[in-house]
C-alpha cells in the first residue's frame, strides 16, 4: 500500500531523483527512504525540512515514533534549542508525549521532558526539594482540569448553596495562589497554567445561563482571578484551555470512556491539538517566532492580477469576492499593530503594483505599512534573502504569505528556514488561516513592540532620502533630528536594561545589566545613567541609546555607551559624547575615559574613540582603554542635531 504523505509535485521530483540512482522500486518508496537518502548524502538541513513537512501532513503516533528516532542521528548536525520541560498534571497525558517530541524536534527545539506524578502537582510545587525542582526545568506546564481542581463545581454543583459556591471558588484560588508563590520562590522557569474549562452540559441546563450564581460564572470567576494571579509575577502565563476545547468542539474533545477507565479525558485524535497549543507558548519562549511577514500581492492582498485586470479589475472591497481579501488585509494590519514588520515580495511591474496602494480606495494596507519591497521579476527566494539582509534579520525571522502553492513549495525547498503560511484554496478562509498561525505568537507586548513595525516602515523612507541627498551632511540636515538625553527613571529602567541586553553592534563595552542593576546605578552617588531618545521628520524612534557613567577621583569613566542599530550612522553618538563631556565637566572631572572591548559583533564601534580624538592609554587581552582631557578638546554636538537636555 503506497502512502502518499508528501505533496505530489515534491514527491515526484524527489522520486525522479531517486529513480536516477536506481533506488526507486515501484510503489515501495516510503518517506523514510527519502529521508535516509538525504541523511546518507549529509543533507542535514534538507532532511530536517522534509521531516517537518512529513510531520505537518501526517501527525500520527506511528510517524512520531520514527521521526523522533531519526533526530537522534540528526541532532549533532543541527543547532536545536534545548528546553527542560516539566509537565505537572492532574490527568493522564503520556500519549501526547511522542507527538510533542516530533512537534518540537521538527520545530528546532530539543526538549528533555519530565512528567510529574499523577495528580501530585501541589505537593511537587510546594516542596522545595521535589523532583520538579531537582529537574531544574526552564519551562513548566501545569495541566489541570476543573474536575480535579474544583470537583464540587464540576459534578456536584447542584448540591451547592450560593455560600458553598463562593467557598469552593476561594479554596481553588487559594491553592493556585500558594502554588504560584511557592513556584516562583523556588524556580525562575516560565510557568504555563491551564485555566479551567466549562462542562459540556451545565448542571442546570439552559437555566444556568439565566442566573448570576451559575456554574459557568463560578468557573469564569476562578479564571478571572487566576489571570490576575499570573499577572502579579514575571513569566507566569495562562493557557485558555476552555477556548482550545471550544475551537475543536467540546463534544469531540472529551473521551468520557477513556477518562473513566484510564483517567485520560482527551480523545486520542485531539491530543495533537493540545500539543500544538503548547507549541504556541514554546515558540515565543525559545525565540522561534517570525519577526517579518512577507506578502505576495496578486490573489493574496487582492483578487485578480493587477498587470492583467488593471486597477478597476482587481477585487478588493466590502462586497464579495473583494471582502475576503479585505479581511486578510485586516488580519495583516492586526499583526502590524502587534509589532510584526511587513514586507512585499511580488512578481509585477512596480508601477502597476504601487498604483493599487496609492489609488485604490478600498485598500486597508498602504505603502507606508511596509518596511521593504521587492516588486520585480526575479525569483522569490532571492528576493526573500535580499529582504532579510535589508531589514538586518536572519532568514528564519521571515514568514511568507502567498496564495500560489508552487511559489510556497519553491521557497520551502530553497529556504527551509522561512516560515510558510499555508493558505487554503478558498480565499474566504485566508484571514482565519493567517490569524490561526502560531508563528507570530507573543507573550509580551511593550510599547516598543507596537511601534516597531512603524519604525521599520519609516526607515524605508529615510533610506530613500539618503540615496537622493547630495551629500551626507545634506542628508543629516534633511532628517531634522531631535536627540533628547535624560536621566534614566523608573519608567525607563526596563527599556534601558533591555537595550544593554540586546544591543550588539554599536556597543563599546557590551556589559549586560538587569533592571535591578540599572536601578542601583541610577541611585548610586558615584554613577549616572542616561537614556537617549531620537526623533526625526519621519517619526519617533523611541528610546535608542544608553550611557552609564562612573565617577571616581577626577576621572569620569564611560561604563556603557550604546546605540540601537536602528539609528547607527547618523552621528547621534557624537551628540551623546558631547553631552557626556558637559556632564563630566560639571562634576569637576578632569579626564574622560572609556574602554572599547571588542566582540564578534561590535566592529562598528571600534574606531569611535580614536576618531573623536581620544588617546589610547592602555591595551590588554580584553580591549583598549581610551582617554581624553576635559580641557584639551571640545567635542561639540553636530549642528544638524537638535540636542535636548532632559531634566
Amino acid at each position: 500500500m503506497r502512502v502518499n504523505i508528501l505533496p505530489e509535485p515534491i514527491f515526484q521530483s524527489l522520486a525522479a531523483g531517486l529513480c536516477n540512482r536506481g533506488m526507486l522500486v515501484e510503489n515501495k518508496v516510503t518517506p523514510q527512504d527519502l529521508i535516509e537518502k538525504k541523511i546518507g548524502d549529509g543533507e542535514w538541513a534538507q532532511a530536517h525540512s522534509s521531516l517537518k513537512d512529513i510531520w505537518r501532513q501526517t501527525s500520527t503516533q506511528s510517524n512520531a515514533g520514527w521521526i523522533s528516532a531519526i533526530y537522534q542521528r540528526l541532532r549533532p548536525h543541527l543547532a536545536l534549542s534545548p528546553v527542560r520541560l516539566a509537565i505537572l498534571r492532574s490527568f493522564t497525558l503520556e500519549p501526547a508525549l511522542p507527538l510533542l517530541q516530533a512537534e518540537t524536534l521538527t520545530s528546532g527545539i530539543d526538549i528533555t521532558v519530565q512528567v510529574g506524578d499523577f495528580n501530585a502537582y501541589v505537593q511537587e510545587i510546594l516542596n522545595p526539594s521535589s523532583n520538579l525542582y531537582q529537574f531544574s526545568p526552564t519551562i513548566v506546564i501545569l495541566a489541570v482540569q476543573t474536575r480535579d481542581v474544583a470537583p464540587e463545581l464540576w459534578s456536584e454543583f447542584s448540591d451547592l448553596s450560593a455560600e458553598n459556591i463562593q467557598d469552593v471558588i476561594n479554596r481553588a484560588l487559594d491553592t493556585f495562589r500558594a502554588c504560584v508563590k511557592s513556584f516562583r520562590a523556588n524556580s525562575q522557569a516560565h510557568l504555563i497554567i491551564h485555566a479551567l474549562e466549562q462542562p459540556a452540559a451545565p448542571s442546570r441546563g439552559i437555566f444556568d445561563a439565566q442566573i448570576a450564581a451559575s456554574q459557568t460564572n463560578a468557573i469564569q470567576e476562578i479564571n478571572r482571578n487566576l489571570r490576575e494571579i499570573a499577572a502579579a509575577y514575571k513569566s507566569v502565563y495562562i493557557l485558555d484551555y476552555d477556548a482550545l476545547i471550544a475551537r475543536h468542539g467540546r463534544a469531540r474533545w472529551v473521551d468520557e470512556g477513556k477518562w473513566l477507565s484510564v483517567r485520560m479525558p482527551i480523545s486520542a485524535d485531539c491530543l495533537i491539538h493540545l500539543v500544538r497549543e503548547w507549541m504556541r507558548y514554546l515558540l515565543p519562549l525559545t525565540g522561534k517566532t517570525a519577526k517579518v511577514l512577507v506578502v505576495d500581492l496578486d490573489n493574496t492582498l487582492w483578487g485578480g492580477v493587477i498587470g492583467e485586470d488593471g486597477i478597476n479589475g482587481v477585487k478588493i472591497g466590502v462586497e464579495y469576492p473583494g471582502n475576503a481579501y479585505r479581511a486578510l488585509q485586516r488580519a495583516i494590519l492586526d499583526l502590524y499593530q502587534r509589532g510584526v514588520v511587513l514586507a512585499i515580495c511580488s512578481k509585477n511591474n512596480i508601477q502597476d503594483a504601487l498604483e493599487v496602494f496609492e489609488k485604490h480606495p478600498n485598500m486597508l494596507l498602504r505603502q507606508n505599512h511596509f518596511a521593504a519591497m521587492r516588486i520585480n521579476w526575479q525569483d522569490k527566494a532571492r528576493n526573500l534573502r535580499e529582504i532579510a539582509a535589508e531589514l538586518n534579520v536572519g532568514i528564519d525571522a521571515l514568514a511568507f504569505l502567498d496564495d500560489n502553492p508552487a511559489e510556497r513549495a519553491l521557497v520551502r525547498e530553497a529556504l527551509p528556514e522561512v516560515k510558510i503560511i499555508d493558505l487554503p484554496k478558498d480565499s474566504a478562509r485566508f484571514s482565519s488561516a493567517l490569524r490561526e498561525s502560531p508563528v507570530f505568537e507573543n507573550l509580551s507586548l511593550s510599547a516598543e513592540d507596537s511601534e516597531r513595525s512603524r519604525y521599520y516602515a519609516e526607515n524605508r523612507q529615510r533610506k530613500e532620502l539618503e540615496s537622493s541627498a547630495e551629500s551626507i551632511e545634506d542628508f543629516y540636515y534633511s532628517l531634522q533630528m531631535d536627540v533628547e538625553i535624560e536621566p534614566a527613571s523608573a519608567e525607563t529602567f526596563t527599556r534601558v536594561a533591555q537595550l544593554t541586553q540586546k544591543t550588539n553592534q554599536f556597543n563599546l563595552t557590551t556589559r549586560r545589566y538587569s533592571e535591578q542593576q540599572i536601578s542601583e546605578f541610577a541611585t548610586s552617588p558615584s554613577n549616572l545613567v542616561y537614556a537617549v531618545r531620537a526623533r526625526d521628520r519621519f517619526g519617533d524612534n523611541g528610546l535608542v541609546g544608553v550611557t552609564i557613567l562612573n565617577f571616581a577621583d577626577n576621572f569620569c569613566e564611560i561604563d556603557v555607551l550604546l546605540l540601537s542599530c536602528r539609528v547607527i550612522g547618523r552621528t547621534i553618538e557624537t551628540a551623546m559624547l558631547a553631552y557626556i563631556m558637559e556632564i563630566a565637566r560639571s562634576k569637576d572631572a578632569k579626564y574622560l575615559r572609556g574602554w572599547f572591548l571588542p566582540t564578534a559583533k561590535n566592529a562598528p564601534a571600534s574606531e569611535f574613540y580614536s576618531t573623536q580624538g581620544f588617546r589610547l592609554i592602555q591595551q590588554n587581552d580584553a580591549g583598549f582603554l581610551w582617554e581624553i582631557g576635559l580641557t584639551d578638546k571640545q567635542i561639540t554636538s553636530p549642528k544638524w542635531i537638535n540636542l535636548v537636555r532632559g531634566k
Binding site: 503516533q61 506511528s62 503520556e94 500519549p95 470512556g257 477507565s261 484510564v262
Partner: protein, 80 residues
C-alpha cells in the same frame, strides 16, 4: 486467525514495548513482557485504534489480555 492483522499487532507491540519481534507470540501478555505496563497498555490501545481505524469501549480494553484476544477482537470488529 488473520495473519496480516497478527503481524501488524506483533509489530506494534514489538515497537512499543521495545522487544524483538521474534519474542512476540500469540500468548504474549503483560505477564510475559516486563515492559508491558499500564502506560504502554494505554499507548497500545491508542495505536491499535489509530492503525485499524476502530474504537475500543472501556469493557473491551480490559479484555485485551494477550496478543491472541487482541487479534480476535480486531477481527470481530472489522468483520462486523
Amino acid at each position: 486467525m488473520d495473519q496480516t492483522i497478527l503481524d501488524r499487532v506483533r509489530n506494534l507491540i514489538s515497537n512499543l514495548m521495545r522487544v524483538p519481534l521474534e519474542e512476540v507470540t500469540i500468548s504474549s501478555s503483560p505477564s510475559t513482557i516486563t515492559t508491558w505496563d499500564s502506560l504502554q497498555h494505554l499507548n497500545l490501545i491508542l495505536s491499535l485504534e489509530e492503525t485499524f481505524g476502530l474504537q475500543f469501549s472501556p469493557e473491551e480494553t480490559i479484555e485485551l489480555l494477550n496478543v491472541e484476544t487482541i487479534v480476535l477482537l480486531i477481527e470481530e470488529k472489522k468483520g462486523a
